[in-house]
Symmetry: C2
Subunit: 344 residues, 2 copies
Amino acid sequence: MNLKELSEKLGLSQTTVSRALNGYPEVAEATRRKILEAAAKHNYRPNARAKSLATGRAMAVGHVIPVSSQHEMVNPIFADFIAGAGESYLRHGYDMVLSLVPDDEEERAYRELAAKGSVDGIIVHGPRIDDTRVEMLRKIGLPFVVHGRMSRRIDDYDWVDVNNLSAFRRATEFLLDLGHRRIALINGLVSMDFAERRLMGYVEALEERGLENDDALIRSGEMTEAYGFDATTEMLALTEPPTAFLCSSMIAAMGVRRAVELAELKLARDVSIITHDDDLSYLSNGREVPIFTATRSSVRQAGRICAERVIDLVQNPDQPAQHCLLEAELTVGQSTGPAPTNQT
Amino acid sequence: MNLKELSEKLGLSQTTVSRALNGYPEVAEATRRKILEAAAKHNYRPNARAKSLATGRAMAVGHVIPVSSQHEMVNPIFADFIAGAGESYLRHGYDMVLSLVPDDEEERAYRELAAKGSVDGIIVHGPRIDDTRVEMLRKIGLPFVVHGRMSRRIDDYDWVDVNNLSAFRRATEFLLDLGHRRIALINGLVSMDFAERRLMGYVEALEERGLENDDALIRSGEMTEAYGFDATTEMLALTEPPTAFLCSSMIAAMGVRRAVELAELKLARDVSIITHDDDLSYLSNGREVPIFTATRSSVRQAGRICAERVIDLVQNPDQPAQHCLLEAELTVGQSTGPAPTNQT
DNA sequence: ATCGATTTCCAAAGCGCTTTGGGCGCCGTC
DNA sequence: GACGGCGCCCAAAGCGCTTTGGAAATCGAT
């Protein structure tokens, strides 16, 4: 059933039917009611492609996910982000199109998305430190919102980010206050912007107390469980092993814990762990009492906000850039305790 | 830059340019070359919406994800599936559109997708035991592939699934062979098809040895870490606690392990765990030696296969239904050992 | 030179929708 | 009674592409 058939069935013109359906005022109420009824009865839905051809609106926003051998973007954190964004799209009647692209073809992919006209806006995922996508997208002229930030950039653009720096500074301070002096940082990939900010927060907190950071205690890598495990195992074998671990994700933290327990060390007594907790639905940090002491910030919420923002941007372009800096809250759980005193 | 402009610039008709670009034979090689060059130079991409209006092809496949208070579909397993499917779409030039829909509006959502014409085919996620979506989709006439199966259905449809029954039967047998008699099943949600098959495999293996299954040892729920932990904690408190746990996912298994360790029990010695391992990139089951003894089957691979299949189905409709049953391999890791002999 | 076959190209008709620019009847007003 | 204004509706022109049904040009064969 298309517009033409529907309007013929009603003995009205396509114009009138279209207007009635889209809520324009220049159609009599009685007629509108009749049209709405007929549309419902015949289960009529306007063809989205035709509609978007005519309006120039795709009613969809794109999520471009770089796939590389380096970094796997489609991860549990991404899944929760998507879930959050999806809620917003659902509410506004937008579609979400994911396209995986090899990272050496990213520019081409963005251009293509714009030229093909299959999306009205874009969410930029996994910003790297020296990311060039902002320039690119601006040149292309497609509205976009960055989930995260690009440290080295000065000009303005829309972003939604967690305050990674302050979160990790606070977490480090918390450990320092507990008497820990050798604190390991199990960070994300250094090339990622968020990882750099976290590193900065960690280093700042140490420096404030006049402590130097020890490179042997800093790791960065893809935040898998195995990575957390391996990094921790190696560090625990040091002559001066760390007494606390600051960890970039719940999943990696589970690896850290596994390593700690394998070493027959007791959590909170021998070794403390603080992790960043993205508040993932499948990896909630315990029920009432958090398992891990953690800096928590819901990535699902970030997804919602990003999506809302990009939709707003699509509907009202030429706004000044907005920023949303989410503060992570430090919740104390069962994984931290005072530094062991029998420390050499 | 659109077709019209490009063809004017070349002094050719839109027809010829279109044909040259789409590889039709009725255009001279010299002309074609000239056209391709100009297209590349001006960075011309055909507008996808216009193209799909004209061809009737959306070049996109939809993934409909029911969002309900009951069951959260956007989980880490889903993420890996999507990643796999995405690879296939990338290879074939298809887009992937995700739409979250409230589960009481699923029918409406599928109809809408079909009527709106924004996708050519659909992947059905999370089939439930008494799922009616097959009928619905068939009535609508949209090609689809189910990831999983619907147990109670007789008529034929395309699906890609892991052999859950045989996987869990083998896992159960493996534990029985190790002398375990009280084996707990930490299953997925009962309403899910895969969970029922796993239960069947488990029960069959027990019955074969003349054992009855004890309802106190069977749980089903959303496969989160916390769920695994809670279920295990409760069962370990039974007067006759299980000596082995059969677990439906790595994430839940991590919760099981946490509970086991909290109870000061030693894995493989006091308590054994076998889990199903979807071979998630972020939760790999150890490096050389698997952490958990597991029935492994890559859900990412399943994603690839599903996507390939649905594309094939879109391009060549009216094929007889195909099925792909993936066998899970049982890999022995560090989480299983003979049943403790000091058993009461 | 003529003719049919081939090659190479084009004009124009859609695909299903929105939207512009009226048209037509009806009202109240001077 | 003519006229401007308003309410309701319509025909038709796009949106950017594909594809049908030729037409013109080229060529070898007669």
